[in-house]
């Protein structure tokens, strides 16, 4: 077990390193960003001096070696736009993103799992049909459009909620609903089919035959046994929520990592892009590792090598 975790952590490090390298080379091949930050009437000599100072004039292998050396020590360079340490900037934006992603994930699980279970248990009831239709719609509705609709109704028309920014609980409501909507739909659909599959098993029949109450049959036997695919998907979603956060944060002006990444990409602020890529791929792979470890706990039949 310990060896397994160690080897997975080593793999994580490798994956993060490879994705950073890929982004580094792609970024450098796409030209240098210096001109974007210069006033229109600048002299060529000054541009060159600026390039020299930022190290863009060195050969690519030298730049790469310097980048790797810096990244090892957590130094991604200085943001070209904010003139500040890129890593510090990213770390500052991390808590709002974690807050938003965590709230959405919680909301997803609290809404989607019960909905899926009830749909499966009361199959073909009105509730099941309403649930199916809303999950199909939820899956097809693009998050950024849902965000715009919510802002229109709750901020512009009703004036109940702020249109964006970070602050109290009221600021958290719409972004987390938007982020949770899509993922809830998928998890609810999967929960429904997973529970339906388990309900046909012999041990459910046995549990009922021995006179166990329906609530315990569902809660203890059915749900526990259908947990594996649900946890898998929830784990994959947890990673994708990081991607969804990019769009949601932009719509609601949420000062998180996603919005910072979009702005850094638009401004070609590459040190910030690289620092953000580092954190996103690190979190994503660690979440996947956590999900794999959860399997062993949920289902003792799963032997981790």
């Amino acid at each position: 077990m310990r060896a397994y975790v160690a080897s997975r952590l080593a793999q994580t490090a490798l994956v993060v390193f490879l994705s950073l390298s890929a982004v580094f080379f792609l970024v450098r091949l796409s030209g240098d960003p210096v001109l974007l930050f210069m006033p229109m009437d600048i002299q060529a000599k000054d541009v060159n001096e600026f390039r020299q100072r930022l190290g863009f004039n060195d050969p690519l292998p030298v730049q790469y070696a310097r980048f790797v050396g810096g990244a090892m020590r957590g130094d991604f360079g200085e943001s070209l736009r904010y003139r500040r340490d890129a890593l510090g900037l990213v770390l500052e934006r991390l808590p709002p993103t974690l807050l938003l992603a965590g709230t959405s994930l919680l909301l997803t699980v609290v809404v989607a799992v019960p909905l899926g279970v009830v749909s499966a248990v009361r199959r073909d009831s009105v509730l099941d049909h309403v649930g199916t239709i809303s999950t199909v719609l939820g899956q097809a509705t693009p998050g950024f459009w849902l965000g715009l609709l919510l802002i229109y109704f709750f901020s512009v028309q009703l004036r109940w909620l702020p249109t964006g920014g970070i602050g109290g609980l009221a600021h958290l409501v719409m972004p987390s609903i938007v982020l949770a909507a899509f993922y809830s739909a998928r998890i609810a659909r999967l929960t429904r089919s997973a529970v339906l599959e388990v309900l046909g098993e012999d041990y459910i029949l046995t549990a009922r035959a021995k006179g166990l109450g329906e609530n315990r049959v569902i809660g203890k036997h059915a749900l526990r046994n259908s947990a594996i695919p649900i946890v898998t998907l929830a784990g994959l979603e947890a990673g994708q929520i990081l991607g969804g956060a990019v769009i949601t944060e932009t719509i609601f002006a949420w000062p998180g990592l996603g919005r910072l990444t979009v702005q850094a990409l638009l401004n070609r602020d590459f040190p910030v892009v690289l620092a953000a890529v580092f954190f996103i791929s690190l979190m994503y792979t660690l979440i996947n590792l956590a999900v794999d470890l959860l399997y062993g706990w949920l289902d003792p039949r799963v032997r981790l090598p």
């Binding site: 994956v15 994705s19 792609l26 199909v136 097809a140 715009l148 990019v246 979009v262 892009v273 994503y284």
Partner: protein, 266 residues
């Protein structure tokens, strides 16, 4: 029910895309400031006009053209690239295959939309580059699914029999393996199609991808934010068009999966 709704919505999107120049007399790019921000139902403009007086219906129809073109091209490119690489990786179980699958793992360790957006920011904006970016981010799914299928098909008796008869490698792949892998490729393609369309809209919405004034649903939605208080229709219709198209294609994909390959998980 699901099947017919899927077919109907997809057909509607397809007809709008193909028939755009004939379904409306308006040019989606022609501005007319005297007619700006007319609400739906205004004479000559059933869906209203935008801030520059351009006809919204014309822009929606041409937007469908663009969305389906980008989605279609991306699906074709990813299916061919990912499919071929998956076939090779399934057959050649030596180091090239290992390297390829590691690349797939690395790419899957990054959220799809973010990857496509990053690539797009680096390679540059515009129609060709958004197709390129989505393809570069999306091919891995095919590679993984196809490789898995090939590994299992290779163990079947008919493949062993064909090999025992002395059939050549290329013939074996084309005649015996490909037809058995094709259903999964079709299913993955249909499920990917809508996510490509939505991803393109999201990326254009954020300011990358297809640029104004080209009528792309994503950039139309992005522009609509400035006129939110006065013109709800600019946000409502492009979003609804996108959602209905995605819904139709999703339903069609679900139905295809249930019919062709019920056990496939993507």
């Amino acid at each position: 029910m699901k099947k017919w709704l899927g077919i109907a919505l997809t057909l509607a999107a397809l007809l709008s895309a193909l028939g755009a120049p004939w379904l409306t007399a308006h040019d989606p790019l022609r501005t007319d400031f005297a007619q700006s921000l007319k609400p739906p139902g205004a004479p000559g403009h059933p869906f209203g006009t935008d801030q520059l007086g351009r006809d919204l219906l014309a822009r929606l129809l041409h937007g469908a053209r663009l969305a389906l073109f980008i989605g279609g091209c991306t699906v074709i490119v990813t299916a061919i690239v990912g499919g071929v690489l998956g076939l090779v990786a399934g057959f050649v179980e030596r180091w090239p295959s290992t390297v390829l699958m590691r690349i797939v793992d690395v790419q899957l360790s990054f959220p799809f939309i973010l990857l496509a957006m990053t690539i797009n920011a680096i390679v540059g904006l515009g129609l060709r580059n958004i197709i390129l970016s989505l393809s570069a981010a999306g091919w891995v799914v095919y590679a993984r699914v196809v490789r898995g299928e090939v590994l299992s098909v290779k163990q079947r008796d008919y493949v062993h029999a064909a090999m025992a008869l002395g059939i050549g490698r290329p013939r074996l792949v084309v005649r015996h393996v490909l037809p058995n892998v094709a259903p999964s490729i079709i299913v993955v393609a249909s499920l990917q199609f809508s996510s490509f369309i939505v991803a393109e809209a999201a990326i254009s919405f954020l300011g990358f991808g297809v640029q104004p004034p080209t009528p792309a649903w994503g950039s139309m939605l992005s522009e609509s934010r400035d006129f939110f208080y006065v013109a709800w229709w600019l946000a409502a219709f492009p979003g609804a068009a996108l959602a209905l198209t995605a819904l139709g294609v999703n339903l069609l994909g679900d139905w295809l999966r249930d019919t062709l390959d019920p056990k496939l998980r993507v």
